[in-house]
Point group: C2
C-alpha cells in the first residue's frame, strides 16, 4: 500500500503543477510534457491496483479506451528489442537446420481437447457463429503435432521452428508479466532418430540461444519422466494419484519442501510415509555422478526408471561432446505440468529472473554433500510463496510465467506419443493400436516475455542503448530557409532510391529549430542542410550528430550534391 500511496501523492503533485503552468500561460509543450507524466503515473497506479484508469471506468455512454484484459500494445521502442530477440533466436534455429512453419491462431476445439490437463479451462473459445467450433491456440506444440499428423509422410523428419502468439485465459498479473496473449518461440525435432541425439542437440540450442541473447548466467535443469514415474512406483504412489503428486513436486522451485509435503498429504491424501520416501529422491540434484548413486538404490530394479537412467547416461555423454555439461543440473524435483511429455524434460533458469529472496538456480552441491538419501532442500527455504517481482517505472515488465514457471525462461521435453494420438483419433482406432505409427518429437519453447523483461531492464542502465531509438532513420533533410519542400522531397527520393533511410519535416515552411528538435529526439545521425545558396552552388552541408552540445558548435561539412549518396554510403 505504501507504493500506491506514494503514487497517489506523486499524481497530486504533478496535477497541481499542471494547473499552475496553465494558470501561468506556460508553453503548450511544457504543459503537454507534464500531462504525459500524469498519464504515466495513472497507468502505473492502475496496474498496481488492478483498477481501470479513471477515464476508462466505462461510465454510462462512454467507451472504454483500452486493450482487453491481460493484453497490451507494443510501442516502437519495445518492438526494436522484441525483433532483436526474434532474429537472434531465428538465427540460432536456422543454424541447426530449422525450417519455419506457421499455423492458424485458432484450431478446431477438439484438436486442443484433452491435451492440457487442468489447464484446459484456460483455453479461449471462439463464439459459435455457425459452423465449426474453434479455440485460440494454447501453445505451439499441439498445433505442430496436428500439422505432422496431417502430413506424416512429407514431414516424417523435420526440425521446425515457430515464433507466434499463444493465448491463455489466466488471471493476468501484468506486473509479473503473466499475460493472456504472449509469444512463444519453439524449436522441435520430429523423426525416428537414435536415442538422445536430437535431445542433446535441443539442449545445445538452448545454451546457444541463451548465450547469444546475453541474458547472463543460466542453468538448465533436466530430469526424465520415466525416472519420475519409477520413483513414484518404488515409493508406492497409487496410480490414480501420480498426476496430482507430480504437479505438487513441480512446485519445489517456488515452495519449500514442508509446503509441498503438506499439499501432497493434507490436500491430496498421500500417505505421509510415501511422501517422505518421495522427498528422499526429489530433492536430489547434481551431475552425472547422481546417476551412479541412483543406480545403487531400489530404482535400479524398476524397469521404467532403468530406461530413464540409460537415456540420461547417454545424454550426459553427448552433452560432454557439445561442451555444455557445466550448464546442466540433473534435478529430480523437475516435473513439468503438461500431460504429453514422455522422456527427458528441462527448464532453463537464470539468476536475473529469480524473485527476490528465492534463488531459482539450484547450486550444484559437491558430491560429498549428497550423501545417499540426504534431504537437500531448496537453497533458500521460505515459509511463504515468493514475492511478486518488482514492476519497473514504466510498468513495462512482461514476464511469461504461465509457460515456463516462475523464473524459468525456456522449457520443453520429449513427447513421443502426441502425433500418434492424433493419428489414432482421426482413424478411429483405439488409442494403443496405432501408437507405433506416430512421430517421436522433442522440443523447446523460449519464453520471450521473460527474456524481454531481463534485456529491457539491462538496457535501461545504458543511455546509448541500441534499443532506445524507435526508428532507424539515418538522414534528416533540413530546410535552412524558405521551405524548399519540393527540393527536400526530390533529395529524399534520391536517398530512398539509394536505400538510405531518410526523412524530412512534412511541412511547407518548417521552422529551423523544430527540425533539429526532431533530429535530437530521434537521434538521427546525419542532418543534410538545404538552403538557397547551397542549391545554387550544387552543394549541401552535412552535420554529423555526435551529441546534443557538439551539434550546435558544428558548422557542418560541405559535400557536393552529386556526391552526397556515395558520401553518406561510406559513412553509414
Amino acid at each position: 500500500m505504501a507504493d500506491i500511496d506514494a503514487l497517489r501523492a506523486k499524481m497530486k503533485t504533478i496535477g497541481d503543477h499542471v494547473r499552475t503552468l496553465k494558470a501561468q500561460g506556460a508553453p503548450k509543450e511544457q504543459v503537454d510534457a507534464e500531462v504525459a507524466k500524469l498519464q504515466e503515473a495513472k497507468k502505473e497506479l492502475s496496474e498496481s491496483t488492478g483498477e481501470p484508469l479513471g477515464e476508462e471506468k466505462g461510465k454510462k455512454g462512454r467507451m472504454a479506451l483500452k486493450t482487453p484484459k491481460g493484453t497490451r500494445d507494443w510501442a516502437p521502442s519495445d518492438m526494436a528489442l522484441r525483433e532483436h530477440i526474434f532474429s537472434t533466436l531465428a538465427r540460432v534455429f536456422k543454424k541447426h537446420g530449422g525450417s519455419n512453419i506457421d499455423t492458424p491462431v485458432f484450431e478446431l476445439k477438439e484438436i486442443l481437447a484433452g491435451k492440457y490437463g487442468e489447464d484446459s479451462k484456460l483455453i479461449y473459445d471462439l463464439q459459435d457463429q455457425g459452423g465449426e467450433l474453434c479455440s485460440l491456440r494454447y501453445d505451439l506444440t499441439v498445433p505442430f503435432a496436428r500439422f505432422l499428423a496431417m502430413n506424416p509422410t512429407q514431414y516424417a523428419n523435420i526440425k521446425r521452428y515457430h515464433i507466434a502468439k499463444v493465448y491463455r485465459r489466466d488471471q493476468p498479473v501484468m506486473t509479473k508479466g503473466r499475460m493472456r496473449e504472449f509469444y512463444q518461440c519453439d524449436f522441435d525435432i520430429a523423426g525416428h532418430y537414435d536415442s538422445m541425439v536430437p535431445d542433446a542437440e535441443i539442449l545445445c540450442i538452448v545454451c546457444e540461444a541463451l548465450t547469444e541473447l546475453e541474458i547472463g548466467d543460466f542453468t538448465v535443469k533436466i530430469n526424465h519422466r520415466k525416472i519420475l514415474d519409477g520413483i513414484f512406483a518404488v515409493c508406492g504412489v497409487p496410480a490414480q494419484k501420480i498426476r496430482s503428486i507430480s504437479s505438487a513436486i513441480d512446485k519445489l522451485d517456488k515452495l519449500p519442501w514442508v509446503e509441498v509435503r503438506k499439499e501432497m498429504t493434507e490436500e491430496k491424501g498421500l500417505d505421509p510415509e510415501v511422501a517422505d520416501r518421495i522427498g528422499k529422491y526429489v530433492m536430489l540434484k547434481g551431475g552425472p555422478e547422481l546417476l551412479d548413486r541412483l543406480k545403487k538404490t531400489e530404482l535400479a530394479n524398476n524397469k521404467m526408471a532403468k530406461q530413464g537412467m540409460d537415456d540420461m547416461e547417454l545424454l550426459f555423454a553427448y552433452l560432454d561432446v557439445y561442451g555444455i555439461s557445466d550448464k546442466m543440473s540433473f534435478d529430480l524435483s523437475l516435473a513439468r505440468g503438461l500431460d504429453y511429455y514422455t522422456g527427458i524434460i528441462y527448464e532453463a533458469v537464470t539468476q536475473a529472473s529469480a524473485p527476490p529472496g528465492f534463488s531459482t538456480i539450484p547450486p550444484v552441491p559437491p558430491p560429498e554433500s549428497q550423501a545417499n538419501g540426504s534431504h537437500a532442500g531448496p537453497s533458500a527455504p521460505s515459509s511463504k510463496p515468493p514475492k511478486k517481482s518488482k514492476k519497473d517505472a514504466e510498468g513495462e515488465e512482461e514476464v511469461d510465467e504461465t509457460t515456463v514457471g516462475v523464473g524459468s525462461i525456456a522449457a520443453g521435453g520429449r513427447y513421443d506419443e502426441l502425433v500418434g494420438m492424433f493419428l489414432s483419433a482421426a482413424s478411429g482406432a483405439s488409442g494403443s493400436a496405432k501408437k507405433a505409427a506416430g512421430i517421436p518429437c522433442v522440443g523447446i519453447s523460449v519464453g520471450v516475455e521473460r527474456v524481454f523483461s531481463i534485456l529491457h531492464q539491462k538496457s535501461k542502465h545504458d543511455e546509448e542503448s541500441r534499443w532506445g531509438r524507435s526508428k532507424e532513420t539515418e538522414v534528416f533533410i533540413v530546410a535552412v530557409a524558405e521551405g524548399l519542400l519540393p527540393e527536400r522531397m526530390k533529395l529524399a527520393k534520391e536517398l530512398w532510391d539509394a536505400g538510405i533511410k531518410a526523412e524530412f519535416m512534412q511541412k511547407a515552411k518548417p521552422k529551423f529549430r523544430a527540425q533539429f528538435d526532431l533530429i535530437d529526439k530521434e537521434r538521427v545521425p546525419f542532418a543534410v542542410l538545404l538552403g538557397p545558396d547551397e542549391l545554387k552552388n550544387g552543394i549541401v552541408k552535412v552535420k554529423v550528430q555526435k551529441g546534443k552540445d557538439e551539434t550546435k558548435e558544428d558548422e557542418g561539412e560541405v559535400v557536393k550534391r552529386d556526391d552526397l549518396v556515395s558520401w553518406l554510403k561510406q559513412r553509414l
Copy 2:
C-alpha cells in the same frame, strides 16, 4: 464441373497405380511418392468442391484432422517466400522512418463496432467466458486509431508500420485465396502536416514497395472521397443513398457499367436519370488533365468537390517531384468500401493479378479520347462477373481479395476522423464536439497473400529459385564409415559456434547413401566428409554440391581440419 471430373479421373488413375505397385511389391519410396500425389489430388478436389477430405468427414468417433475453415498451415518453402515479402516491405517502411508497433489479436468488441458498415457481420467474436466481450481484429487500421487515441500526446506524430494477421468470417474461396485468416502489411502517417505531403509519400512508398517486390507492372488508381461526394451531390443522389450507391460504384472494376447501373436503379431504387448523370462522371479516368476538365463542369461549383480537386492538384505536383506520376491513374470509379475514409483513396492493381478475360489495369486513354462527358467503360466489358482465377497444381494460391478487391494488391486512403471518433466516444462528448482533437491519418495496406500468389507463381518457373529450399543449411557433415557420431557432433558444434549453419544425420551409424540423399534433397551446398583416415591425419574432405550429376564424379577437396571454419567462411 469439367475440372472436378478430370480431378476425380486423375485420382482414380493414381489410386489404381498405387494398388498395382503394392501388388508388385514395389519399393516403399515409390509407393509413398504415389500416395503423396493422391493426397495432393484429394486436397485439390476438396478445395475445388469445398467438401472436406475423405478422411476428414468426421465419421462417428473420428476426429477431423484439419485446420478450421478458411485457414491453412504455411509449410517451410512457403514461409521462405513469405518472410522475403515481409522483410522487403519492412525495409521500405523503415527507409521512410517507419516505427513498428504491435497490438493484440483481439480488441474489445465495442472498439470495432460501427467501423466497417455492412461488413461488420464478418467479425469473429470470442465466446463470452465471463469478463469483457472481445472480437478478433478485422483490420490493422482501427486498432492503430485506438492506439493513437490512447496515446494522443506521445504519438501525435508517427509513421508506423504493422505486419500482422487479421480475421474475417467471410465465405472462403481457397482457390481465389479468399481466406478467413490472412496477413496485412500496413504503413500509416499520423499527424497534423501540410496538405498532401504525407499522402504523396504514402503513394511513393506503394511504388517503391511494389517495385522492390518485383511483382511486374502495376498501376495505382487514385480518387478523392470529397470529389465523389461532390459528384453524388451534383447528380442528385439522396443523402441516405450515398453509401449504397458508393458501394455499387466500387464494383466497376469487376462489373460492366450496365450491371452497376442495374444495381443502382433496380436494386437500390435510384432514379435512372441520376444514375446516368453519375455514369457520365465515374467512368472517366486519366491524369492531371482530367482535373482541368472537371473544373469546367458543374463540379466546380460544389464546395466539397472543389476541396477534393484542390487536393488532387497539389498531390499531382508532388507526385511529379517524386517521379511517380506515370504509375497513377486518376479514376473516378474508385470508391473503396470502408466507412472511415475522408480524403484521397487508392488501390494498386497489376496485370499479373487480373482475372482471365478482364483487365484490372485501366489503360490510361490519350486525352483526346476523353471528350467531355464521354462514357469510357471499363476496358474489357463483360456481361458476367470475372471467372475465378485458376488454382495452381498444389492448391497453393492464396489471394486476399476481401481486403483489396479483386485484383488489387494494395489499398488505402486518408481517414482524418477515426482517432477523433474514439476520443469523443471515450470522453462521452457528442461526435462533433471533439473532432478537432483527433489525429489525421493516411495509410496503405499491402495484401500479402496476393503478392505471395504472384511471386509463388513466378518462382515455379524457376527450378533454381531461392524459394525452393525449406531451410538454409550450408554444411552437412557426412560419416564416411563407422558412424563417428561424437566426431560429427564435435565438428557440428565448432561450425555452430562459428555461426555456420550445419547439420548431420541423427543416427549412430548412418548409411553413406542416405546422408547424400538428404544433401541432394535439401540442396545443401557443402558436404564435409569425415572418415577414420581423415581424422588420423587432421583433415576433412569437402565436396561442393554443384548439381546432382557433378557430385558423383567429384572426389572432394582436402582441407585441414583446423582451417575448415575459415575455408568455409570464405566460400559462404
